[in-house]
């Protein structure tokens, strides 16, 4: 099997379930819907993308959505140069997604962290507990854009 064949078969498979993969340097990008997330992930595992490199949330307050991005990675020689990027948009006020822990077991800590810092609820995840934040944290999820960090100016006035 060469690079083309496995990757191309994955692309074809993704098209079959109604998704449109886009090729970028080093990345195969797919925009998915919450419903098509699990089938797409299962397809990726079948074609060699057997673990996640990252789960990430990006807050877009202007559009009212949180974009959750999964980067799947493979250690196989023919696939390691290309990351599979699955993007899902969920409404900002009620971000819910199915958990991918059954598909990619190492989503355990990555999803828990995204819940902790971005407030995305992964349904079916066995332990959505605080991971990095202190257990008594009651503020908003800190990575959301409405959580502002204090910044300082350059000038100080002295007498």
């Amino acid at each position: 099997m060469n690079t083309g064949s496995r990757l191309e078969r994955l692309e074809k498979g993704l098209r079959d379930i109604g998704l449109e993969p886009v090729k970028a340097p080093g990345v195969l990008r797919v925009d998915a819907q919450p419903e098509s997330l699990v089938p797409a992930a299962r397809l990726a595992v079948e074609h060699g993308y057997d673990h996640l490199a990252s789960v990430e949330g990006i807050d877009w307050p202007s559009e009212g959505v949180i974009e959750v991005i999964y980067h799947a990675e493979s250690y196989d020689e023919d696939l390691r140069g290309t990351l599979l990027e699955i993007r899902v948009k969920v409404p900002r006020d009620e971000p819910r997604l199915p958990s991918l822990i059954e598909v990619w077991p190492n989503a355990l800590f990555l999803e828990r962290e995204t819940w902790d810092l971005m407030g995305v609820v992964f349904e079916g995840h066995p332990e959505l507990r605080r991971l990095l934040m202190p257990p008594d944290w009651d503020g908003p999820p800190p990575l959301r854009k409405d959580f502002k960090v204090k910044t300082e100016g350059v000038f100080v006035n002295v007498e």
């Binding site: 934040m133 202190p134 257990p135 503020g139 800190p142 959580f147 960090v149 204090k150 910044t151 300082e152």
Partner: protein
């Protein structure tokens, strides 16, 4: 010379009066200087790594800078230590643990803040998850740097060493 604990002895509170008597004796000059001389050679820090300055903390106890020459031997249990070295950032979660460790240490106890993060947060000064150690503990020395060179830590330890030998440390370190 009158002693404050004499009255207590007359009242029959032997245990309390003997404790006070011992304290009074220890504070007198020859005994106190002997005690401080002894303390200065056993400034054992508790092995409590709060953050990444721990890498340089390890270098301080490693062969090149070998602070064991000054009785600086990281020790596992806070019950046998006098020195708490805050190594870098103190997060909210860690601050609680640090307070517990500090309470467990026997007096006299000294705190040295190592690194910019342990002084004013350093590069993380506007982070939502950090605590400034000087709001929690009385701090003897601040060591700037991110991370400070092992020599800078040695400098603080040597100065603390001399300070203890001269019995110049404050009441705060001695209390509790």
């Amino acid at each position: 010379m009158t002693c404050p604990f004499m009255g207590l002895a007359f009242l029959g509170r032997l245990e309390e009066s003997s404790r006070k008597a011992a304290q009074w004796l220890v504070e007198r000059t020859p005994v106190r200087s002997l005690r401080d001389w002894a303390i200065s050679f056993s400034l054992w820090p508790v092995h409590f790594t709060t953050s990444c300055c721990g890498a340089e903390f390890a270098a301080v106890s490693a062969p090149r800078f070998d602070m064991e020459r000054y009785g600086f031997l990281p020790f596992n249990s806070p019950r046998q230590t006098n020195l708490l070295l805050i190594e870098g950032t103190l997060t909210r979660k860690m601050a609680r643990a640090a307070e517990i460790v500090y309470q467990q240490m026997p007096s006299p106890k000294f705190v040295v803040a190592m690194g910019a993060c342990a002084i004013d947060g350093g590069i993380f000064h506007n982070s939502y998850n950090i605590v400034r150690p000087h709001e929690l503990f009385p701090i003897e020395y601040f060591i700037p740097g991110c991370p400070p060179r092992p020599e800078a830590v040695a400098q603080a330890i040597v100065r603390l060493h001399e300070k203890v030998k001269r019995s110049e440390y404050g009441v705060k370190a001695r209390e509790t």
